[in-house]
C-alpha cells in the first residue's frame, strides 16, 4: 500500500490537470454553440477535478500520517516526534504541500459553485467554469511539474526533519487554512466578473448574486489576518500583533482592496454607478491574492536572490502577468458597456462619502504595497536594497486609518443623492458633542496626552455614537410602531435589514479593535532587565500602575516531544500587592537547535502585562526578562470577535428567496388594491 500511495496521489494530480483543461475547452465550446450536452460534460469534468484533487490530498495525508519518509515532502515536514495533529497539519507546512492544499480548496469552491442553482445568471456559468479551471490549471500544473509533493527520494530516510518550530502552535494550524479559504474564495467574484465581461453582460445582477460569496471570502480573509496576529502575539514573543512583515502585508493588501469593493458595490446596486471601478477592484483583488500567494511562497521579498533559485518564482510571475493583462484587455473592451447610469446629485451624499472611503482604502493599499515591494524595487534598480520596516508603515498609513475611523461615522448620516447642509449639521450635533467631550475629558481625567491618541479616540467616540444612534433609532421606531419590547425590537430590526445592521456591527467591532491598536501604538511600554535570584525589577504604566516582578528561579517543564522547556518563575505584584505567578518559557527545539521564547501574561482587565525570558546564566543564578505593558490589547481581540459576528449576520443566507424590502411589499400592496 505504501508504495502505491505516492503513485495514486501523483496520478490523481495529473488526471485532474487533464480534466481541468477538458473542462475549459468544453465549457467554452458549449457556450459558443449553445449546446447543453457539452456544458454538462464540462461540468462533470470540473467536478471530477474536485474529486481527483481530494484523492491527492487524502493520499498526501496518508503519507504524512504513516510517516512515509521516502516521499521527499513528508521527510521535510514531519519527524518521529510529530504528533498526529501536527502530521496532518503538515500538509500546509511547506511550499509543495501548501500549493496542493491551495489548489484543492480552490477546486472545492469550483465544485460548490457548480452545484449551486444560479437562476438568472445561469448563462454565465460555462464561462465562470472556464475561468476557474484556467486558474486551477496553473496551480495543478505547478504540483504536477516543478512542485510535486509526491516526489520520491532514492533512499528511505530513518527520520524526517520536521516542521519549522514556529509552526507548532494551534494558531498556526488553523490560521493558514482560514487565510487560504479567504484567498481562494475570491476566485468566485473574480470568475463571475470575468464571465460577465466575456459575455458582455452589465454585471448588476451578478454583483447581487456573488455578493454573499464575496462577503464570505472577506470574512475568512479577515479572520485569517486576526488569527495570524493572535499567533504572533502568543508565540513570537515580541510583544506585538502585527510586524508589517512582507508575508503579513501580502495577505493584508488584498483585504485593503476588497474592503472598498464591498462598500462601492452598494453604490452600484442602489445607483447604477461605479461599475467600471467595481470590476476593476475585483480584478485587482484577485491579482493581489495570487501575487500574495506568490510572495509568501517564493520568498522573493526576502531577497531578489532567492527568486532565481526557486523555479516557481518566474512561473508565478508569468501567470500573474498573463492573468492581469488578459483581465485588463477584456475590461477595456467592455468599457462602454459599463457606463455609469446614475449621476451624482450633491457632494453631501452617501455616494461621495463612499468615494472618499474608496480613496482612503486604495491609498492605504497602495502605500502598503509600495512599502512591501520597495526593497526589491530599490535593489533591482539601484543595486542597494533599502529596507522598509514598521516605522514607515505606521507613519504613512496611521493618519489614513484615523480618517477611515472618522468617515465610518459620517457616512451613515448621509443619505443617498443629497442632504442639505443644514440637515447634515443637525445630524452631526450629538456625535460631535460626544467626540468633543471625549477629547476634552481624556487629557483631564486620564494619562492620555498624545495628540494623535486623543484625536483618534475622539474619532472612535464619534463613530461609535453614530452607530449606537442608528441602532437606537431603528429599535425605538419599531417599539413605537409594533409595541415590541427592546430585545424583540432589536432582533426584528436586525433580521429585517441584516446587511445594514450587520454592517454596523462590523463597524462597532472595528472601533473596539481600534481602541486596542491606539493603546498599543501610543502607550505600550517595555523594559529589559537582568535579575539575580530573589531580585526584582519593575515596569510602570499610567494605566495600570507599577508591576514588580521577583525572579524565583528556573525550572525544566514538560513540553512537546523533542523540545526542551525552560521556565522562568516570576512573582508578580501590582502596586505592592501580590497578584500571582507567571512562567514565561523558552522552548528549545533540539533537532533544529532553534529557540522560541513563549510569553506569559498577567491580565489586568483589558490591559496585559506580557513577559518573555530572553536569556539566563548557565548556573540559573540570574536571568534576563523582557516585560511589556500592552494597554487595552484585549479590545483588539474582542473587537475581532464582534467583527466576525457582524460579518456572519450580514452574510448569513436568508430563509426568504430574496430580501423582501418594504419597497417590494409596498408595490405588492399597491398591486392588490383595486
Amino acid at each position: 500500500m505504501d508504495g502505491f500511495m505516492p503513485a495514486i496521489g501523483y496520478t490523481a494530480q495529473v488526471l485532474a490537470l487533464i480534466l481541468a483543461v477538458y473542462a475549459i475547452v468544453f465549457a467554452v465550446m458549449g457556450a459558443r454553440k449553445n449546446r447543453q450536452d457539452l456544458i454538462l460534460s464540462a461540468k462533470n469534468a470540473s467536478l471530477g477535478v474536485t474529486a481527483l484533487l481530494t484523492v491527492a490530498v487524502v493520499a498526501m495525508e496518508y503519507l504524512l500520517i504513516t510517516r512515509h519518509y521516502q516521499t521527499e515532502y513528508v521527510s521535510q515536514v514531519t519527524n518521529s516526534d510529530a504528533t498526529l495533529f501536527f502530521r496532518m497539519a503538515a500538509l500546509w507546512g511547506s511550499q509543495k504541500g501548501s500549493l496542493l492544499f491551495f489548489g484543492w480548496l480552490m477546486s472545492i469552491f469550483t465544485g460548490a459553485i457548480l452545484l449551486n442553482k444560479w437562476g438568472a445568471v445561469k448563462t454565465l456559468i460555462p464561462y465562470v467554469m472556464a475561468v476557474m479551471n484556467l486558474v486551477l490549471v496553473f496551480f495543478i500544473g505547478l504540483v504536477v511539474t516543478v512542485a510535486n509533493p509526491f516526489q520520491q527520494l532514492s533512499f528511505f530516510p530513518v527520520d524526517g526533519q520536521g516542521l519549522n518550530p514556529l509552526l507548532y502552535h494551534w494558531g498556526m494550524v488553523i490560521h493558514p487554512p482560514i487565510l487560504y479559504i479567504g484567498f481562494v474564495a475570491f476566485i468566485v467574484p473574480y470568475s463571475f466578473a470575468m464571465a460577465a465581461l466575456i459575455t458582455g453582460q452589465r454585471g448588476d445582477l451578478l454583483m447581487r448574486t456573488t455578493r454573499r460569496w464575496t462577503l464570505v471570502a472577506w470574512l475568512f480573509l479577515s479572520a485569517g489576518l486576526l488569527l495570524g496576529g493572535r499567533w504572533a502575539y502568543d508565540v513570537l514573543g515580541w510583544g506585538g500583533y502585527w510586524g508589517w512583515d512582507p508575508v503579513e502585508n501580502a495577505a493584508f493588501i488584498p483585504w485593503l482592496v476588497a474592503t472598498p469593493f464591498l462598500h462601492s458595490v452598494i453604490i452600484q446596486e442602489n445607483r447604477g454607478m461605479m461599475k467600471r471601478w467595481n470590476v476593476g477592484l475585483i480584478i485587482l483583488t484577485f491579482a493581489l491574492v495570487v501575487e500574495g500567494t506568490f510572495l509568501t511562497r517564493s520568498g522573493v521579498i526576502g531577497s531578489v536572490h532567492t527568486f532565481s533559485q526557486s523555479a516557481i518564482g518566474p512561473l508565478f510571475l508569468g501567470f500573474i502577468a498573463i492573468m492581469f493583462i488578459a483581465s485588463l484587455v477584456l475590461f477595456v473592451n467592455r468599457w462602454e458597456l459599463l457606463e455609469s447610469e446614475g449621476e451624482l446629485d450633491s457632494m453631501f451624499s452617501r455616494e461621495s462619502a463612499f468615494l472618499l472611503n474608496n480613496l482612503l482604502f486604495i491609498s492605504i493599499a497602495f502605500t502598503v504595497w509600495w512599502g512591501t515591494h520597495f526593497p526589491i524595487i530599490s535593489e533591482a534598480l539601484t543595486g542597494t536594497k533599502i529596507v522598509v520596516g514598521p516605522p514607515f508603515f505606521k507613519k504613512a498609513v496611521g493618519p489614513l486609518f484615523a480618517a477611515v475611523v472618522l468617515l465610518m461615522g459620517v457616512t451613515p448620516l448621509m443619505p443617498w443623492r443629497k442632504i442639505t447642509s443644514r440637515k447634515l449639521l443637525r445630524q452631526l450635533i450629538v456625535p460631535s458633542i460626544v467626540a468633543v467631550v471625549v477629547a476634552i475629558a481624556l487629557p483631564l481625567l486620564t494619562a492620555i496626552h498624545f495628540k494623535g491618541a486623543i484625536m483618534t479616540l475622539a474619532f472612535i467616540a464619534f463613530s461609535a455614537a453614530v452607530m449606537l444612534m442608528e441602532y437606537w433609532r431603528g429599535v425605538s421606531a419599531r417599539r413605537r410602531a409594533h409595541g415590541e419590547n427592546l430585545f424583540t425590537a432589536l432582533v426584528h430590526l436586525v433580521r429585517r435589514n441584516r446587511r445594514r445592521y450587520g454592517g454596523y456591527l462590523i463597524h462597532i467591532g472595528v472601533l473596539l479593535a481600534a481602541l486596542g491598536i491606539v493603546g498599543m501604538e501610543f502607550y505600550q511600554v517595555e523594559t529589559q532587565q537582568n535579575v539575580a535570584l530573589g531580585e526584582s525589577f519593575s515596569i510602570s504604566s499610567p494605566f495600570t500602575g507599577t508591576f514588580e516582578m521577583t525572579f524565583r528561579g528556573l525550572q525544566q517543564a514538560p513540553g512537546k516531544p523533542g523540545v526542551e522547556n525552560t521556565e522562568g518563575l516570576l512573582d508578580v505584584s501590582r502596586n505592592g500587592e501580590f497578584v500571582g505567578t507567571i512562567k514565561p518559557y523558552r522552548e528549545l527545539f533540539l533537532r533544529q537547535q532553534q529557540p522560541m521564547t513563549i510569553p506569559d501574561v498577567y491580565r489586568a482587565g483589558m490591559t496585559e502585562l506580557y513577559v518573555i525570558i530572553a536569556g539566563w546564566e548557565p548556573d540559573g543564578q540570574s536571568a534576563t526578562f523582557k516585560a511589556y505593558i500592552n494597554p487595552m490589547i484585549n479590545w483588539l481581540w474582542f473587537g475581532g470577535i464582534v467583527f466576525a459576528i457582524g460579518t456572519l449576520v450580514a452574510a448569513w443566507p436568508s430563509a426568504q428567496p430574496a430580501r423582501r424590502t418594504s419597497r417590494t411589499r409596498i408595490k405588492e400592496k399597491v398591486a392588490e388594491t383595486p
Binding site: 515580541w238 510586524g243 512583515d245 508575508v247 445607483r271 521579498i301 531577497s303 455609469s340 447610469e341 446614475g342 449621476e343 451624482l344 446629485d345 450633491s346 457632494m347 461621495s352 468615494l355 480613496l359 486604495i362 491609498s363 497602495f366 502605500t367 509600495w370 512599502g371 520597495f374 530599490s378 534598480l381 539601484t382 542597494t384 533599502i386 529596507v387 522598509v388 520596516g389 514598521p390 516605522p391 514607515f392 504613512a396 493618519p399 489614513l400 480618517a403 443619505p415 443617498w416 443623492r417 433609532r473 431603528g474 425605538s476 421606531a477 419599531r478 410602531a481 445594514r500 517595555e526 523594559t527 529589559q528 537582568n530 521564547t597 424590502t661 418594504s662 419597497r663 411589499r665 400592496k669
Partner: protein
C-alpha cells in the same frame, strides 16, 4: 494629513539636532542599560533573519550587534551616531525606516504622490458627475435611505390598510 509627514519629520530631525547641540555636560562612563540599547536596536534590522528588528531577535549575531551598540553608547555615542556608525559599515540596508533622502526618498514620496493623484481624480469625478444633471430615476432601496421612523409608520399604515 499626509502632507504633514514631511514638516513633522523635519521638525523631529531638527529637534534631534537641537538636542545634540546642547552641550553634553560631564559624560559619565556609566554602563548603558538594556532599555537604552533596545531603544537604538529598535531602529535597526536583524542582519540574519528577515523582517525582524534587532531588538526582538534572539540569534547570536544579533546579540553581538546589541553588544556593539552597548559599547558605542558607553563611549558616549548618541543614538543617531550609533545608527550612523552602523550605516557607514553595513549600508542603509540596516535601517528599519528608509532615510528620507536619496533613493529612500522615493519610498516616502510615491505614496504621497499616489494619494494626491487619488484626490485629484476624486475631485474630477465629483465635478464630472454633478455637471450634467438629467432627471433620471434610479431605484434606491428605501430602507437604505428613508428615515426608519417614517418607514415603520408606512408599514403600520399599510397593515391597517
Amino acid at each position: 494629513m499626509k502632507k504633514y509627514v514631511f514638516p513633522l519629520m523635519f521638525i523631529i530631525v531638527a529637534a534631534i539636532f537641537a538636542l545634540q547641540a546642547t552641550p553634553t555636560v560631564a559624560q559619565e562612563p556609566t554602563e548603558p542599560t538594556m532599555d537604552q540599547v533596545n531603544t537604538v536596536a529598535k531602529n535597526l534590522n536583524c542582519p540574519t533573519c528577515k523582517g525582524l528588528n534587532l531588538e526582538d531577535c534572539r540569534t547570536q549575531t544579533c546579540n553581538q550587534w546589541r553588544d556593539q551598540i552597548k559599547d558605542l553608547l558607553a563611549q558616549g555615542y548618541t543614538e543617531q551616531e550609533v545608527l550612523d556608525w552602523f550605516v557607514a559599515r553595513f549600508g542603509v540596508e540596516v535601517l528599519q525606516e528608509p532615510p528620507p533622502k536619496g533613493n529612500g526618498l522615493f519610498a516616502w514620496l510615491l505614496p504621497l504622490f499616489g494619494f494626491a493623484v487619488g484626490v485629484g481624480w476624486l475631485v474630477f469625478l465629483l465635478r464630472k458627475w454633478s455637471v450634467h444633471k438629467t432627471p433620471e430615476s434610479s431605484a434606491i432601496d428605501p430602507e437604505d435611505n428613508i428615515d426608519v421612523e417614517y418607514l415603520e409608520k408606512i408599514e403600520q399604515d399599510l397593515k391597517e390598510f
